[in-house]
């Protein structure tokens, strides 16, 4: 049983300032990631979570720097492995709010396997993908999210591979919460991240977060022209409808696309302690040791 968000509220209200740090992000001016950072900070504030109870794990990439730009426990892990680290953190202390974050290369290239398995495992964590459809930090190579024909330093004649579709993959992988946002729609994005955190189980927020330096195709303008808001009437609990919406909008719909109630992983582990191990008494009770030894007689 995960502690509910309500119980974590502290008497003195949390303000946005609590999530600020005194470090200037090294992102390029105009990078979509600024907005993601702000939306995340605002969501955490809105949820009145104490920064000390939040852990943000990031991968490697421009996006990956995010964990260092807000005031919360952070782990700047490895390229593609943020989710593995994040799941470990959640297991060790289920009372934490655990956010994993990273780039599209992180999530869908090197980390593809970790992403799909985290989805089906359904631990109560939130994954924010800053999807700029290019490799930013390594100076602009193609990403699995780049569209066909996309020209980069590693595909000077245009990419010849089909891009991956995050939402479709997440649907097939049984993710229990799937949303898509856009850096330019910061209010909505904040809302989506908040809902994702509130969701009990694995939540994916894929964010179109333009790279102003290396992606001259999928720009803010391009997205503004192509994204489609899911209608008010849309019911995210219907997988068929979700698949349809994704298909109809060519994967460019914004909003909560899918949501499902399923017990998160930690509620299913037999005998699980459901509390932070570092507070626990780790001494093995003598009778348990003796019982264990008896099996070897």
């Amino acid at each position: 049983m995960a502690i509910s968000v309500q119980e974590k509220k502290t008497p003195s209200a949390i303000t946005l300032k609590d999530y600020k740090v005194n470090i200037r992000p090294n992102w390029c001016p105009g990078c979509g990631d600024f907005s993601v950072l702000m939306a995340l900070q605002k969501s955490l504030t809105a949820l009145q979570l104490n920064p000390k109870d939040v852990a943000v794990v990031a991968g490697i990439g421009c996006s990956g720097r995010i964990s260092g730009y807000l005031n919360a426990y952070g782990f700047h892990s490895l390229h593609g492995r943020a989710l593995a680290t994040a799941q470990g953190i959640k297991l060790a202390n289920p009372e934490l709010t655990v956010i994993a974050a990273g780039g599209d290369g992180d999530a869908f290239a090197i980390g593809m396997s970790q992403t799909i398995h985290a989805m089906r495992r359904n631990m109560d964590i939130t994954y924010i993908v800053m999807d700029n459809q290019v490799y930013g930090l390594t100076k602009g190579q193609t990403s699995p999210r780049s569209s066909e024909g996309f020209k980069t330093s590693s595909t000077p004649y245009g990419s010849v591979e089909q891009p991956v579709h995050p939402v479709q993959l997440a649907l097939s992988a049984n993710a229990t919460f799937i949303a898509q946002g856009f850096s330019s729609e910061q209010d909505e994005l904040q809302e989506l991240i908040r809902k994702a955190i509130e969701h009990k189980g694995f939540s994916l927020v894929n964010v179109f977060s333009p790279c102003v330096t290396y992606n001259k195709v999928n720009t803010y303008d391009w997205f503004r022209q192509h994204v489609v808001q899911l209608p008010e009437t849309y019911d995210p609990h219907d997988k068929g409808a979700a698949l349809q919406a994704v298909h109809d909008t060519n994967g460019l719909c914004l909003g909560v696309i899918y949501e499902e109630d399923r017990p998160p992983y930690d509620e299913l582990i037999p005998g699980y302690a459901h509390k932070p191990y570092f507070h626990a008494d780790l001494q093995l009770p003598t009778e348990l040791f003796e019982e264990a030894m008896a099996e070897f007689q």
């Binding site: 680290t85 470990g88 959640k90 060790a92 007689q297």
Partner: protein, 580 residues
């Protein structure tokens, strides 16, 4: 007593999937209950059914820690078992074989063949699968063991299936024993001297390591199945519910190591266990553990390499990888258990050392140690203390001046910086695999880098581990035999024999491989007239390590075996004599 022997080696063999393992385990259990010391070694292939397998059990009135040279009694369920193992039979050995396979001894083998209608007797007693019990009975008959000795065991095993089943099995055993006594003359040399009847424990190294981890407070294990490491995850997943722990089978070893790092960062004692191929995949994660100073314990159960190699065979060839694998300069500790007791206590130590130095600790365990069934007098949980190292208390944190993040990577004289866990007030910091400043934020400042790297180096600069070495023998031996891991047992046995022949020989076992215990080993290496470094790998990896760290190129020789087998005592005696 007249004509009794102090030890016997019994082997049962047949097709994989035929119940060879359980036959061996049953017999081992029986002898354990009598108070004998045992060493059991399973020879099995990387397949599920079919192919030859055998279980070799050495039974003695004294502690034994290696395979014996010869087999005294071979229980053969098929002809290949006889053919494959014939050369291991001592002169005068007995082969008990099932009549149904029309057994024959290969030419030139001087052993007695006892043809017993094992299957037929079993069928007569109701069920052909009781063939195993019949054959154990035959063994008892040969060894002069009273069949009543089996009763308690049968009770334990079949009790809940009802008395009838127990009786049925007892009768099958009795029939096997009777058949031998009726059809074959009693032979000299098969009666074991009586054991002391003391209650001891029988386990494999993997179980001892798993129990060590459990006792040391490990509560999160992340792992991906692989031979011969899977026992560990399979053991812990059964035990964890009792202590609120969790074993999670990950999608691969990369996830396993990174998840363990996450769990440790958040305050759990966490570990993973794997073997060669998975260990290679963990290289990057081990580097992250080192760089972010997040303690983890990684058990590597070595098997025959390289690559997929021979998954069910013995080797000690991951030493280089354990110490030098992963890019960059990664501080780490590499330990290597050499006995069943080591497997327990050193694993427990591994968690304390990981916490104390905030580094990855690698437990390098070889196949023979992991899988061989051995006797222990007992393991003492009170010797295992749990020390989580330098952690900021909530009180200490409250006293910190506010503002700014916690200096997780504070520069300290020892290189060790107190850490915090998420949810601690005033303890917020970022763990980072990039070079970072004191608060964990990435830096590219050359001086900060220099300081942080030096800090990490400092942590292990004066490292000392109590159990780092084990030395046995005279102070100025003519020959010093150096090894690590499971070779300890066989070296001891070989040296005992050499000493009987009047040689001044000694053994030095390394149980800490890195940081290399130069101070501890040098006096012994210095004092020896000649050094032989014995190991089971093709690259003479331990020899290379010793040369690198302390030299002695001139007076040391290398004795490497890399065919997937352990050394045998007499073989080692023969080989070592080259230097005597």
């Amino acid at each position: 007593m007249n004509g009794v022997v102090e030890e016997l080696t019994w082997m049962v063999g047949g097709e994989q999937g035929e119940g060879i393992d359980s036959t061996g385990a049953t017999f081992a259990s029986l002898m354990n209950r009598q108070g004998y010391f045992l060493y059991g070694y399973r020879n099995f292939g990387s397949r599920i059914k079919g192919g030859h397998t055998n279980y070799k059990l050495r039974i003695a009135t004294h502690p034994v820690a290696a395979q014996s040279d010869h087999v005294d009694i071979l229980l053969a369920f098929d002809q290949p078992t006889i053919n494959i193992n014939a050369k291991e039979l001592r002169e005068g050995a007995v082969v008990i074989a099932d009549e149904r396979v029309h057994p024959k001894l290969p030419e030139g083998i001087r052993a007695s063949l006892y043809v017993v209608p094992l299957t037929q007797i079993a069928e007569e007693h109701g069920n052909r699968i009781m063939k195993n019990m019949v054959s154990l009975g035959a063994t008892a008959g040969l060894m002069g063991l009273p069949v009543e000795a089996f009763y308690e065991l049968m009770q334990k095993r079949f009790g809940r299936k009802g008395n009838e089943v127990v009786e049925q099995n007892m009768q099958a055993i009795a029939a096997g024993a009777a058949y031998i006594r009726q059809h074959y003359e009693k032979l000299e040399g098969f009666d074991l001297a009586p054991a002391d009847g003391k209650s001891r424990y029988l386990m494999i190294g993997n179980e001892a390591m798993a129990l060590g981890a459990l006792t040391a407070g490990c509560r999160v294990m992340t792992a991906y199945p692989i031979t011969p490491a899977s026992d560990i995850m399979e053991y812990l997943v059964r035990k964890f519910p009792k202590v609120g722990g969790v074993m999670i089978q990950t999608e691969d070893e990369i996830s396993a190591v990174n998840m363990a790092i996450g769990a440790s960062y958040a305050g759990a004692r966490a570990m993973t266990a794997t073997s060669g191929p998975g260990f290679s995949l963990m290289a990057e994660g081990i580097g992250l553990s080192g760089m972010s100073e997040t303690p983890i314990v990684v058990i590597d159960t070595e098997r025959t390499g390289p690559s997929t190699g021979m998954p069910t065979r013995h080797e000690q060839s991951d030493l280089n990888m354990a110490i030098f694998g992963t890019h960059g300069d990664v501080q780490r500790i590499v330990l290597s258990p050499s006995t069943l007791e080591d497997a327990f206590y050193i694993t427990a130590d591994a968690f304390n050392l990981a916490d104390a130095y905030q580094v990855p600790v690698i437990m390098l365990a070889d196949f023979a140690l992991c899988e061989a069934l051995q006797t222990t007098e007992g393991l003492d949980p009170t010797q295992v203390r749990i020390d989580r190292g330098s952690i900021m208390t909530d009180e200490q944190l409250m006293q910190l001046p506010g503002g700014g993040q916690f200096k997780r990577y504070a520069i300290t004289p020892t290189g060790i910086s107190p850490r915090t866990f998420p949810s601690q007030v005033n303890g917020i910091y970022q763990a980072d695999g990039l070079e970072h400043g004191e608060d964990g934020h990435p830096t590219e400042d050359f001086d900060v880098r220099q300081k942080q790297m030096s800090k990490r180096l400092a942590k292990l600069a004066g490292f000392h581990y109590d159990r780092a070495i084990d030395y046995e023998g005279p102070q100025q031996p003519d020959l010093l035999v150096v090894g690590f891991g499971s070779t300890r047992g066989v070296i001891d046995e070989a040296l005992a024999q050499l000493r009987q022949e009047g040689h001044a020989v000694a053994r030095l076992t390394l149980r800490c491989l890195w940081p290399f215990p130069a101070e501890e080993t040098t006096p012994y290496l210095e004092a020896a007239k000649h050094i032989v470094i014995v190991e089971n790998n093709a690259g003479a990896q331990l020899a290379g390590l010793i040369h690198r760290e302390v030299g002695y190129h001139g007076k040391s020789s290398s004795l490497s075996q890399y065919n997937g087998r352990t050394f045998l005592p007499s073989q080692l005696v023969r080989l070592l004599k080259e230097w005597l």
